[in-house]
């Protein structure tokens, strides 16, 4: 049995798709890792996609089950939020910056707990700990820089709300102490 008129069309489609595939195959990019690198700033508070971005991060946490996946998740979130805090501090958005820094601290603290769990269960031979330590060192470097540049305390006066004191010095000190925990675990 033959199928007149069918195969040529299919063959033409196949030729086109194959050519496309070959072209795409050769368009690959190589990435090389170096020192511990923090991510670029992502969506900032006030951006219309910020809420979606945050909601997605929460969903993503459920996808990262297991101690190694969780340490990766919390380390990356701590990195992203520290970069967010740094950027917001630089733009004088102290309230948002303080909130981002507190959240970064929270994620880093959780990462430290998962680091301990991985160590206890001997899931790896210290790779995640080394990464978290490198991340902590990079964070400490940035926190140190911020401590030198920023005032210890500011009075934040938002519109239609009572003024509040933001103790930047204390927040940064807290952040430093949490990062130092990576030296104690494992």
């Amino acid at each position: 049995m033959s199928y007149p008129g069918r195969l040529p069309i299919m063959m033409r489609c196949v030729t086109f798709i194959t050519t496309l595939a070959v072209l795409l195959m050769y368009c690959s990019i190589s990435v090389f890792a170096s020192d511990y690198v923090l991510p670029y700033p992502s969506f900032m508070p006030g951006h219309r996609l910020y809420a979606i971005h945050r909601a997605w991060s929460r969903v993503d946490e459920f996808w990262h089950f297991g101690a190694i996946a969780r340490i990766k998740y919390h380390r990356q979130r701590a990195d992203t939020l520290l970069v967010e805090a740094k950027t917001l501090f630089e733009y004088g958005q102290y309230e948002f910056a303080a909130r981002a820094l507190l959240e970064s601290n929270k994620h880093f603290a959780r990462a430290v707990l998962y680091d301990k769990e991985i160590g206890e269960q001997q899931k790896d031979t210290g790779e995640q700990h080394a990464l978290l330590k490198a991340s902590g060192e990079k964070h400490t470097e940035i926190i140190g820089r911020l401590s030198n540049e920023l005032p210890g305390q500011i009075v934040w006066e938002p519109e239609n709300r009572e003024p509040q004191i933001i103790d930047i010095g204390l927040l940064l000190r807290q952040a430093e102490i949490i990062r130092a925990f990576t030296n104690e675990t494992q």
Binding site: M1, S2, Y3, R6, L7, M10, C13, V14, I17, T18, A21, V22, L24, M25, W63, H64, F65, G66, A67, I68, A69, K72, Q122, K123, D124, T125, E127, Q128
Partner: protein, 365 residues
């Protein structure tokens, strides 16, 4: 039949010459005559296995076509072959160890295999002999869930787990053969064409690739739809896609089939098989987008070609492909390198046999 049995026994014994040097069990010294340090012997053995199986297969297909061999005899060869080859070492591919490792990542360590690579679990013993530890799970979620059966049945024993996974995949191979037989209106030719094709035999029964699992659900989908069991058919199709994604390309065809059935229109099944063949062939050719053309991917095409009435172009070209693609591993076996001339030879052996067959058919016309 006796020759087939002898050949299956030969493959099973020979496969132990290819046991990984780091595998927890090592065969007796005599098997090392064909290990990685004796490349000429291992390459010759492999070519002999492929060529021998094809000769037997060609002879059998001729007998099936002239009616001297019926379905019961073909089934007997399939069942005996399955029983023998279950005990073969997965000699020509390491993918079974990826399946085992992925299941261990999820069920033993409680980690998400789509995020965590086996190499990150640096204390894991399978890292010593699996060959792709630096990859997150490549397969669909249903496959990973299904591997719970062989994973728990192997009781954590690395040697037992190889055979549990092989037995598990063997069941789907038999299921596929059964589905092809039923869809092919219980004719002997489709059954023999698919189930005894050397590519299908080696890749499903020796190397234990999960492609037959995906194809089992895909073929079952067509079978159920044909019996007007639309919901079960669609569910089976979704299961197939969730095994290895490739059958996703058949979605428009499934939608079209359901539409025709709901409108009570007559379905031209040969056209459905032809379109399925074409679509799966497109995915086969597109596979380098993901990694490269692996020989076992051609099982996707063969399952549907088997269902077509004999076509003077399609069947011989499909047979030529199924002869060529298993030879893609030959340059690696011979040289031990994936670089140099290996990629060129891989392309040549893949496309030259079907090209020659196509040209020959065209000239003969």
């Amino acid at each position: 039949m006796a020759l087939y049995v002898l050949f299956f026994l030969f493959i099973t014994v020979t496969s132990y010459a290819f046991v990984d040097a780091n595998f927890p069990w090592q065969p007796p010294f005599i098997f090392s005559i064909a290990d990685a340090t004796h490349r000429i012997i291992s390459t010759t053995l492999y070519i002999f296995i492929i060529a021998g199986l094809f000769m037997l297969y060609g002879h059998l297909l001729r007998k099936v076509r002239d009616g001297s061999i019926g379905s019961p005899r073909v089934w007997r060869i399939i069942l005996i072959g399955s029983a023998i080859l279950l005990f073969a070492y997965p000699a020509f591919s390491h993918d079974i160890f990826n399946y085992i490792a992925t299941a261990r990542v999820l069920f033993l360590y409680g980690e998400n295999p789509y995020i965590i690579m086996p190499i990150e679990l640096t204390n894991e013993p399978i890292l010593a002999y699996m060959h792709a530890p630096n990859k997150t799970a490549l397969y669909g979620p249903l496959w990973i869930i299904l591997t719970a059966f062989p994973h728990f049945a192997s009781l954590g024993n690395p040697i037992l787990s190889v055979f549990m996974y092989k037995a598990f995949i063997l069941l789907f191979y038999l299921g596929c053969a059964w589905a092809v037989w039923i869809l092919g209106n219980r004719k002997t030719f489709p059954l023999a064409f698919f189930a005894l094709n050397p590519l299908v035999v080696i890749e499903s029964l020796v190397s234990a690739h999960n492609d037959v699992v995906m194809m089992f659900f895909a073929l079952s989908a067509f079978l159920l739809i044909r019996k007007n069991l639309l919901v079960s058919g669609i569910a089976s199709f979704i299961f197939s896609v969730l095994i290895k994604f490739a059958t996703g390309i058949l979605s428009p065809l499934i939608v079209w089939l359901v539409y025709l059935l709901l409108k009570n229109e007559r379905i031209k099944w040969n056209k459905i098989w032809l379109w399925s063949t074409g679509l799966m062939f497109v995915v086969f050719l597109l596979s380098p987008l993901r990694e490269e053309i692996y020989s076992w991917y051609f099982i996707w095409v063969l399952a549907f070609v088997a269902l077509l009435p004999w076509n003077r172009s399609i069947h011989p070209i499909a047979l030529a492909f199924s002869f060529g693609v298993p030879l893609r591993i030959v340059p690696y076996l011979a040289t031990g390198s994936w670089f140099g001339l290996t990629p060129v030879i891989k392309s040549v052996v893949t496309f030259l046999p079907p090209l020659i067959t196509g040209l020959w058919k065209w000239v003969k016309k």
